[in-house]
Subunit: 347 residues, 2 copies
Amino acid sequence: MSELDPTERLLRSCRGEPVDRPPVWLMRQAGRYLPAYRRVREQVTFLELCRDVDRAVEVSLQPIDEVGSEAVIFFSDIFTPIPGMGVEVDFAPGPVMAEPIRTAAQVEALRVPDPRESVPYVFEIQRTLRRELASREIPLLGFAGAPFTLAAYLVEGSGSRHFGTWKRMLWQEPELARALLARLTEMTVGYLNAQIEAGAHAVQLFDTWAGMLSPAEYREWVQPSHREIAAKVDRSAAPLILYVNDGAHVLEEAAESGADVVSLDWRIDLAEAARRVGSRVSLQGNLDPCALAAPPETIAKLVADLARDAAPARGHILNLGHGCLPETPVEGVRAFIAAAKGLGASA
Amino acid sequence: MSELDPTERLLRSCRGEPVDRPPVWLMRQAGRYLPAYRRVREQVTFLELCRDVDRAVEVSLQPIDEVGSEAVIFFSDIFTPIPGMGVEVDFAPGPVMAEPIRTAAQVEALRVPDPRESVPYVFEIQRTLRRELASREIPLLGFAGAPFTLAAYLVEGSGSRHFGTWKRMLWQEPELARALLARLTEMTVGYLNAQIEAGAHAVQLFDTWAGMLSPAEYREWVQPSHREIAAKVDRSAAPLILYVNDGAHVLEEAAESGADVVSLDWRIDLAEAARRVGSRVSLQGNLDPCALAAPPETIAKLVADLARDAAPARGHILNLGHGCLPETPVEGVRAFIAAAKGLGASA
C-alpha cells in the first residue's frame, strides 16, 4: 500500500480499514519529560497553561518537532470542564476538590453548561491547532475524562490509592452514585461533541480508575456510561477511543462499549487482547512507559513485537500503556516513534 | 462430611482435599478498623507494636473474638525482617528507607542473617500464638513480603504510584536488579522456614506490586523468585499461599509458581479463575474490601456467590481480595465471617 498521510492512517486504523503501517502517538506526549515543555511551565501554573490558548497550542505541538509524533492531543486536563459544573478544583498536582461531592444536594447543584460558554478556550485551542496542523496532515485528538474516574475524584476529594469513600458510596448510596454518574455522562457527551465540532479528528475517553472494579461492578458502574457516550458522541465525524487503565480483566466489556478503539495498558499481551476482542474494535497501545528507559535497539524490538502481536486485530495504533512519566527519557520516546515509523506495511 | 476443626479445614483446603465448607479469614483482619486494635495502637507506634511480643499476640488474637475469624495471622509487617539486612526503615505509615538501595555496593552490603537472631521476637510471637490457639484448634499463619515487592520499596525508597525508579532499573541495570532479588529471595526462604519451625500451619507470600508488570515482565522478574521460594520452603510442613495483588493478567504464571494456593484480588471472577488454574492450585479470596460497607444481607449473598463460583476449584479459602481498610465497618467483617460459617458442605 502506498504511504498514507498521518490523519488518514489514524482514522483508517480506528475504523479497522487497511493501512500501510500502524499510526503512532503517545499519551501525555506533551509533558514534563520534554525540556521544551518544562521551559513553558516555568512561566505559568498548570491551570494557567490549560487556559492560555497560545501556550497550550505551543506545548500541544511540541511533540511533533521534539520527538516526531504523528498525532497531536490538545493540552489540557480531564478536570478542565469540572469548574464549569460549579465545583472548585485545584491541582496539587492531581485534582483536589475544595469540597468533595457527597450529598444529593451537591449532585443536584451540579450544572451541565454549554461547554462553548464554560470553557471557550478549549475550543479556541483546538481550532488553532487544527489550522496549524492542516499543512502537515497531522490529526488532532480531543479527549475527556470518563464519568467513573471524574466521580471517583469528586467524591474522594482527591486522588487516592483505594478510593474507599467513592467505592463505599457504590454500596451504600447507589442512587446517589448513579445520579452523579448521569450528570457527568451528560456533561461528557456535550464536551466531546463540542470538541468534534471544533475540529478533533478523533476523541479519547480516559477511564483511569475504572479498572479498580471487579468485572461485575464494572458492568454495573462503568459500562453503561461508556455505552451512552459512544451512542451520543458523533462517531461518524470522529472515532471514539476508550482507554481503561488496568483493565485486562474487563477487556470484553470495553470491547462492547460501542467505542471504535480500545486503548490498553501494558498488563495484557496484545496478541491475547486481539484474540479476545476479535473484529469488534481496533486496539491502541501498549508499551509500559518505563520500558522507554531501555536502549534504543531494545525499544525497537519491543515496538516490532507490539506490531506483530497486534497484527490480528482489525486495526492498531501504537502508543504507550499509560502516559509518559516526568522521568521518561526523551531519547526513549524518540526511539519509540522512530521504530514505529520504520515498520513496514501491516495490513 | 462431619464438621472439621478450623486447622484441618484450612490445611485440607490448601491441599485440595475435601472439606465441609470453605475456611475463612481476612487479610489485615488485625487492623485499624477494629476499636480494640486502635486502643492498643494508642499506646505504641506501629514499629513498637511489631516488636512487642505481648501486644502483638494480643492484637493477632483480637479477630477471633471480635469478628469470629477462623485463622490467625501473626501481627507484623512485610518490612519486619529488612532492618536485619542492614537497611534503615521507618514507617510513615508505609515503609520509608533512610537510603534507597540503588548501587551494586549497597546490594552487596545487604546481609542475610539468621532470622532467629535478627528478629527473635517474630518467633516468640508465633510460639506464643501457637500455644494460645491450641485449645481452639485455630490455625496460625505466617507470612513474608515477596522479593519483587520488597525490592520495589527498597529501590524506590518508599511507596509510589508507578515505582518508576525500580522499573527503570529492570531495563537499565538488570544485573543489579537480579542481584537484589536474589538476596531478598534467600532472606525470604530462611524467614518463612523459621516461621514454620516456630509453628506456622501455613505461610502466605504477599506480592503487592508484582501485578504492575506485563505478563512477559512478570515471567522474567517475579516468577523465578516465587518458584525458588516454593521449592525451598518446607511445604510438606506448611502449605504456601501466594497473593499477587492486581494479578488477573498473570494468573497462569501464579498457578505455576509451585505455591499450593493462589490468593486473588477482586478484579477476577472466581469462576473464571477456577477454570484457568484447573487442579494446579487452590484459590483464596476475593471480595472487594469496600463491599463490606454493604448491608449484611448483601454481604451474605456476595459470600454465597464467591463460594459457588469457586466450587469447581480444587479448594477455596474465603477471604477478601485485599486487606481490610481502616474505614471497613466491623459489622461488615462480622457479616462476612458469619455468612462463611453458614455455608453448607462445599466439596
